[in-house]
Symmetry: D3
Subunit: 137 residues, 6 copies
Amino acid sequence: MPTVTVTRRVRFNAAHRVHNPALPDDENARLFGKCNNPNWHGHNYTLDVSVEGPMDPKTGYVFDLAKLKAVVQKEITDIVDHRNFNLDVPFMKDVIPTTENIVVAFWKLLAPKVAPAALKRLVLWETENNYVEYDGR
Amino acid sequence: MPTVTVTRRVRFNAAHRVHNPALPDDENARLFGKCNNPNWHGHNYTLDVSVEGPMDPKTGYVFDLAKLKAVVQKEITDIVDHRNFNLDVPFMKDVIPTTENIVVAFWKLLAPKVAPAALKRLVLWETENNYVEYDGR
Amino acid sequence: MPTVTVTRRVRFNAAHRVHNPALPDDENARLFGKCNNPNWHGHNYTLDVSVEGPMDPKTGYVFDLAKLKAVVQKEITDIVDHRNFNLDVPFMKDVIPTTENIVVAFWKLLAPKVAPAALKRLVLWETENNYVEYDGR
Amino acid sequence: MPTVTVTRRVRFNAAHRVHNPALPDDENARLFGKCNNPNWHGHNYTLDVSVEGPMDPKTGYVFDLAKLKAVVQKEITDIVDHRNFNLDVPFMKDVIPTTENIVVAFWKLLAPKVAPAALKRLVLWETENNYVEYDGR
Amino acid sequence: MPTVTVTRRVRFNAAHRVHNPALPDDENARLFGKCNNPNWHGHNYTLDVSVEGPMDPKTGYVFDLAKLKAVVQKEITDIVDHRNFNLDVPFMKDVIPTTENIVVAFWKLLAPKVAPAALKRLVLWETENNYVEYDGR
Amino acid sequence: MPTVTVTRRVRFNAAHRVHNPALPDDENARLFGKCNNPNWHGHNYTLDVSVEGPMDPKTGYVFDLAKLKAVVQKEITDIVDHRNFNLDVPFMKDVIPTTENIVVAFWKLLAPKVAPAALKRLVLWETENNYVEYDGR
């Protein structure tokens, strides 16, 4: 069977503050600029979850995208949507909530949940002009 | 001279909490659902500022869009970008930061600044699927 | 109170055939071209539902967009999504399913359901390059 | 019959220089900044052509959008696509090629060609963040 | 010469029904949900065709994108646009028309037609939130 | 540390003419069609600059995107925005300004400037439907 990658796009919004509590305030301000605002700011995030595998001859699907949406909703969006990454999200505790750290945390949650397909790539957009991608390396 | 409407689109992001402090917490939760999260959430906002007027025969412009961008930046985005609408924005004090109230507040700030053109319409997108528009009535 | 227009965007997909059963097949083919394919074709539709009214001072909302989404889902998308406009949709019976006729039918369903706000405008995209709008006239 | 507005979106690209030949070079540079570059610059333009009218009961169409596309192609895109607004476009002769002047020129060409419908609105995007609209006034 | 990948995006729309004729109706309904509607539904599809190769020093092109568009039109869009994947498309006969199976069928048609470049990747969007990609493996 | 790819999207517009001065005019016309217009045409370009590397534990960043934006602005957009690729851009001298040649030239400028991260991929959109990508091979 051919190996195809299928992607489900989901959206959520959240508040955050880019801040390293191990550093003094003035260094945080210098490093992170307006992203360090102590009163938070926020984004509409877009996440593309891509899984790869052979097609099931019975269905012609690599992974039913309705099921993939349900997995992402349970593992990710139910936890982070309309929340504060610094204050409300258990799996971001003690992590600076940069888009890089968020995407790596998402990988750890999703990778075990998509068998028998394999998680291939996550792309996370923070704004229309900035995005990060991660493939588990 | 023909009357043309010209629009400049700007973007910013901010945190907010939809909350009416005059109401008890449980009614706030019932009215506003997840938008009432006490730890805030946030959005990437898109704002279309439209001004209308005759073209200046010397320039062929209704209003120089570089100048319109500068006006919007000074009056709006420098104040709200990477901020918290409830805590950081003086002109939103004592106002529930719904998209409706935000767009009306923006109108009051921008309308006096675009003469000799006239502010015609503001469109404010809160998410990819929700937007409000206001024409000063 | 200021009068603001708020919009909720929804999406659905459907099959249809543009065909006037009162006309002979060759005239249908001439009038509608490939849109007359007897085996159907289909689209991802995007619908912007705009309602207008004063803000409620208690909420800062013209109309709670979560409720507007629920109204549109019950009246429209639950009936048309993943369906065939010619065969499956009771309110399109005996109507040629052009985008124009679809948007007028949607208006009749939605206008009575958005009080105390008023339905102001429907915009229905059939493809990325074609859309229609209707304001009830 | 209900009155519906139908829109066809078309795209083209062109070079131009925003320049008023009646003014000295230094004033042109001051007024138009980088848009005055003597060696030209260019854009991918997007044009939304909206016509309004009653639906034809025979077709359910206000105006066949394939025909509207053909009208716009003949009157506009065949003349301006991959061209220079200052040097190649007869109907822009002696006009400063601002987006405002371009949209007004387009109106004059298209308004007589869409009977029995009426040209309602043209929207012309010059960049992702700038657009103008004109309704014939 | 550097190796560059060039992509042409094309769009088409079609009807389909996700259905495995070897299975009973109730299992089809369970497996495919609303996508199994016997009266069909449809989509606006977007296809990105990417070919890779060295640049021709005479033209600076890897592959003339006007020619690539013509190849895709002849092999794909002329066959599937405004059609029904289950009933009208010879190369989908006896295949469940999932996006996965469609993209693999497209690959077989396009790969032999882009020499001396090489077909590198196909991305097929079924909706704004779902897409599949295939690289020939 | 995980290896993440971060991308900054920038936009600019420019004029160009696809023309090989070593060939006679009629062959240029045949090879390049309307892109060979001697009076130029132009585009709004979109460029995605992707750099890859381990995250810095102090910041949670692979590469501060504000700094990446500044690098791209200095090396690329300050030179090409609102300019003519054939006449105004030193690094395109003696090169046919196809999108392929432009993206390779951009790579040479940017690759040395993103240490300690590594330039991973450039994607350059010329129109909504055409883009090229390059990874330095």
